[in-house]
Every structure is written in C-alpha cells, then in structure tokens.
C-alpha cells in the first residue's frame, strides 16, 4: 500500500496522484510495490531478479509506461538494472524517476542502470525526475546510468531533471546513435547547500545523418558544486551540438567540459558553453516590470530550468 509519503514522492517524481493508468511498475525500498502490463507493453522481472525488462511491441503508439522508484528505508542503497526494448515504429512515453524520503541520519541511495534499445523508426520520450525530501540528516545519493542504443531513423528525447534535495549525484549517459536517428538530451540540475552533482556523457554519432543536441542547464546555489562533461564523437556524416549553461549563485562552483571529436570529414559538431551569475540586464528588466530582486531571481531560474 502506498502511504502519504509515498504518494507525495510519486507526485513529485512522476506527477502521479495515485496509481497510474496503463502500464506501470512501482518499486519501493528495493521491492516490487505494484505492476500492471498492457496489451502492447510487457514488464517482467529480469533473469537475475535485479531489475525489470520493459518490452514495447512494434507499432505501439500513444502509450505510456510509468516506472517510479520510492526510497524511504534508512540505510538502504538500492541498485536496479532495467532494460527497455522499444519496438520498431512505436511512439511511446516512459516516465521514470526516483524519489528519496530521508527520515533518519542514515544515508539512502538509488542507482538505476537503464539500458534502451530503440529499434528502427521508433520514437520515445523519456522523462526522468529525481528528488529527495524528508527531515532526516542522512545523505541522499542518486547515481543514474543510462545507456542508449539507437537503430536507424529512430528518435529519442530524454528529459533528465534533478531539482534540489539530492546530496550526491553521479550520472553517466552513454549513447550510440544509428543512421538517420536523432537524440535530444536535456539535463536540468539544481544543487544547493553542500551538494554535489556530476554528469558524464559519452555520445557517439555512429550512423550517416545521425543527429544529437545535448542541452545542460545547471543552477548552483549555496556552496554546492556541479561538473558536466560531454564527449561527443562523430564517426559518420552527422550533426551534433552541445549547449551547456550554468548559473552560479552564492558560493557555488562549476566545471563544464564539452569535447568534440570528428572522426569523419563530413561531421559537423558545435558547442556553446557559459558559466556565470544571473545576467544583470535580465534582473533589471524584470525589476522594471515591478518584481523585487528575489522575485526576479526566482523567475529567471524558473524559466532557465523549465
């Protein structure tokens, strides 16, 4: 049964008021809490018993699957291996995410290893939100690992969000993009207090006319730190762009290291990166519309992390 805290966590990570419609798998404190499959989306525990396999039939369109994880058990460090097989020509949305509720001084953590096999012509939107709440002083740790294999002419849009509360996060995204396929990654991370977040991305444009756009938006408050690394490698005629922006507030620190590697003469790779405080002209504009300094800062950050 889901208690009030679980429901709050579910609302935050998956925008769910209760049990979702359609296929879902809810994992709570390392165990299966509930599962529902649909005619086109099958969910099974994997052979090792340490995760699930989500199999989406070819041609499945306009369906979604929710796979939230709730963690509220003191001292638990949950590791899960999930595999997604997105069938040819399907068009689906996957809503994942992990919510930690920490009520004690013991640390709690979750490492989700997600492997995506996106078949030819498939289209997938993957939404992953991480949050941590609770009055406990224990560390909240989230280490997501995402591996993406895209066949030809597939499209994947990945929205990866972590807005506060998480003390330590080490994210790895790896992707191999096939011919004519498009991968869009948007990562939004806000850290505060003494928190730290690291994101490492290894993206390979492997097929002819493959495309990627990697966007990172970081807000670094308090004495927190964030590091963002991307290695974008082109092995064919392709197009890739990296855009990383970091807003530093208070005493935050940031490293942003985008790297472009063209191993093919027709590769077209670009990057733009910026680190700095909130631009003064933005603040002046919003204040000239009647907002005070703090309200103006909040609105700018809200827009930036949207």
């Amino acid at each position: 049964m889901l208690n009030a805290i679980d429901k709050k966590v579910l609302k935050e990570v998956a925008d769910l008021e209760g049990i979702p419609k359609g296929a879902y798998n809810i994992r709570k404190n390392g165990k299966l809490e509930g599962r529902e499959v649909s005619a086109n989306i099958n969910i099974e525990t994997n052979e090792k018993g340490d995760g699930i396999v989500i199999d989406i039939k070819p041609g499945t369109v306009n369906e979604s699957v929710h796979i939230p994880v709730i963690l509220s058990q003191a001292g638990l460090h949950d590791v899960v291996y999930n595999t997604f097989i997105i069938g040819e020509g399907s068009d689906v949305t996957i809503v994942a995410g992990c919510g930690i509720h920490c009520g004690s001084n013991e640390s709690e953590g979750h490492s989700g290893i997600h492997e995506f096999h996106i078949k030819a012509g498939a289209k997938v939107t993957y939404v992953e939100k991480h949050i941590a709440i609770g009055e406990g002083s224990g560390k909240r740790i989230l280490n997501p690992f995402t591996k993406v294999f895209m066949e030809e002419n597939a499209q994947a849009q990945m929205e990866l969000t972590q807005l506060g509360g998480v003390d330590e996060a080490k994210r790895v995204n790896e992707a191999t993009i096939g011919a004519g396929s498009v991968l869009l990654i948007t990562e939004r991370v806000m850290t505060e207090k003494e928190q730290s977040a690291e994101s490492r991305n290894e993206i390979t444009l492997a097929g002819t006319d493959s495309k990627t756009n990697i966007v990172s938006r970081s807000v670094i408050k308090g004495s927190s730190s964030q590091d963002f690394y991307v290695n974008l490698t082109a092995e064919a005629r392709c197009y890739g762009h990296i855009e990383c922006d970091a807003i530093i507030m208070d005493n935050g620190i940031n490293q942003t290291i985008p790297a472009l590697r063209a191993l093919h003469p027709d590769a077209e790779l670009t990057h733009e990166a910026s680190i700095g405080k909130i631009a003064n002209d933005q603040l002046m504009k919003l204040m000239s519309l009647g907002l005070d300094y703090d309200q103006a800062v909040n609105r700018i950050i809200q827009g930036f992390l949207r």
């Binding site: 938006r217 933005q282 009647g290």
Partner: protein, 254 residues
C-alpha cells in the same frame, strides 16, 4: 509631474593615465519637468547622455547629485521595482535575452496576471507583435525587430503613468515605425500616458510635443522640432565643435 532637479551623474574615468579618483561627468546639472500626458522626444548625438537620463529616471543608475520628484514624491532613492510600481516603466534600448523565459512569462509579469484573455487583449492592443510570439522564448534566436516589439508590449502592458522608450525603432523595419508611433500616440491620448522617447528617428521627433536636445550631458534645447532643426542639422554632420572656429574659417574641419 516628473521633475528632474539639478541631476548630476558621474562615473569613474576610464582613462588609466588619470588619477584613480578622477571622474567623468555624464549628466551635468540637468533640470526639467515632464508634464502629465505630454509626448517628449529626447535626442542628441551619440554619447551625449540620452540613455543615461532615461536610466536615471528608471533608477537603473543612481544619481550622483540632484533629485527626481514624481507626483510630488521624492523617488531619488527608490529601487527600480518601486519606481515601476509607482507607474514609471522603461523599454530598454538593448532588451535582455533570456534562456527559457518566454514572451508569455514577461507579459504575465508585466500584467500581473497570466489570464489568457488578458494576454491576448494586450497583444491586440499593441498590434505590432504577432500572437505567435506568445510562447517564443525571449532568447538570442529572436531578431532585433522581434525583441523590440516584445519590449514595447511589456511596457504598455503595465499601463504606465510614465512610459520611457529607448530607441524603440532599433531593428524595426521602416513599415512598422509609422504604426509604432501611432500606437504610442494612442496610448498617450487614451491613457494620458506621459511618453518619453529617446530617438534619432525623425518620425518620433515629429510626433513629440516637446523635444529635448542633449549635448555633452546638458540640455542644449527644449521646444518644438522646427526650432531644433538648425542645431540637429549641424550636429548631424559636425563633431568638431570644440575645435570650431567658424564654418568659413580656412581650418574648418567640415
């Protein structure tokens, strides 16, 4: 209604050769009263201090000396947002570009409401910017003209008592300048908005009831356009007035 009383604005001199304490005077003892519902154009050569005067009124830059009185109240030390809430709004010459913030966001802040009907109403009222703009991010992808139209809309949406537009025609195509002047005139008439336009554009200068010609941080002339024309024509070609010994002098730089 809006009084500038002996305002002075100085900045540290940028010339490294000078003493560290040396200052450069940008606005030098300017006094002027803007009357309720008047249409004013501030013009003058580049670097004369036009934008600085506008920013001093809005509170973006703080006065070095002098006072600004608005409807009988001394607003000299009020921050930007309080001046805005008192009814003064400024349209920037180079509007800020954001990441993620949309025109809808800015307009909602300006209106104090995100009600769809009200947003659509204001866009119709402004006329010069398209409804398609509403969900566009106000970022570097917008053209110079688009962002100026958005800027204009956010000023008008606040129903200001004093609206200051800093070079509103920058980046605007020739065909939009006429409708833009009509819009500002309409807002002035219907809402009795005191309108101050910083501009070099003759269309705006012609539309103004009163023209302020700024030269080297001082008001060189106030009055109608006809009276300013000889000075404007002179300024438009000659920037050597400090060295000038008369047009007919053999050493004339023109």
């Amino acid at each position: 209604m809006l009084q500038l009383q002996n305002i002075i604005f100085k900045v540290p001199a940028s010339d490294s050769g000078k003493e560290p304490q040396s200052e450069q005077t940008i606005i030098n003892d300017v006094s002027f009263t803007f009357e309720q519902g008047g249409f004013y154009a501030i013009t003058g050569p580049n670097g004369s201090g036009k934008t600085t005067i506008a920013k001093l009124i809005m509170g973006i830059n703080a006065l070095t000396q002098g006072k600004i009185i608005f409807n009988g109240k001394d607003i000299t030390s009020l921050p930007i947002n309080e001046r805005s809430n008192a009814g003064i709004v400024y349209g920037f010459q180079h509007p800020a570009r954001f990441k993620g913030t949309t025109f809808r966001d800015l307009l909602s802040i300006s209106l104090g409401s995100d009600d769809e009907e009200k947003l659509v109403n204001i866009i119709s009222r402004v006329g010069v910017c398209s409804m398609d703009f509403l969900d566009k991010p106000v970022d570097s992808k917008l053209s110079g003209g688009e962002i100026k139209k958005i800027e204009l809309a956010t000023v008008i949406a606040r129903n200001p008592k004093v609206a200051i537009y800093d070079e509103p025609d920058t980046g605007i195509d020739l065909w939009t300048i006429g409708p833009m002047v009509d819009l500002l005139k309409r807002e002035q008439k219907e809402n009795n908005t005191t309108t101050i336009v910083v501009s070099h554009n003759k269309t705006f200068l012609e539309a103004a009831d009163t023209l302020l010609l700024i030269k080297k941080g001082k008001i060189a002339y106030t009055g109608d356009l006809a009276g300013a024309m000889p000075m404007l024509e002179d300024l438009s070609v000659c920037t050597f007035d400090e060295l000038c010994q008369g047009e007919n002098d053999a050493q004339c730089y023109r």
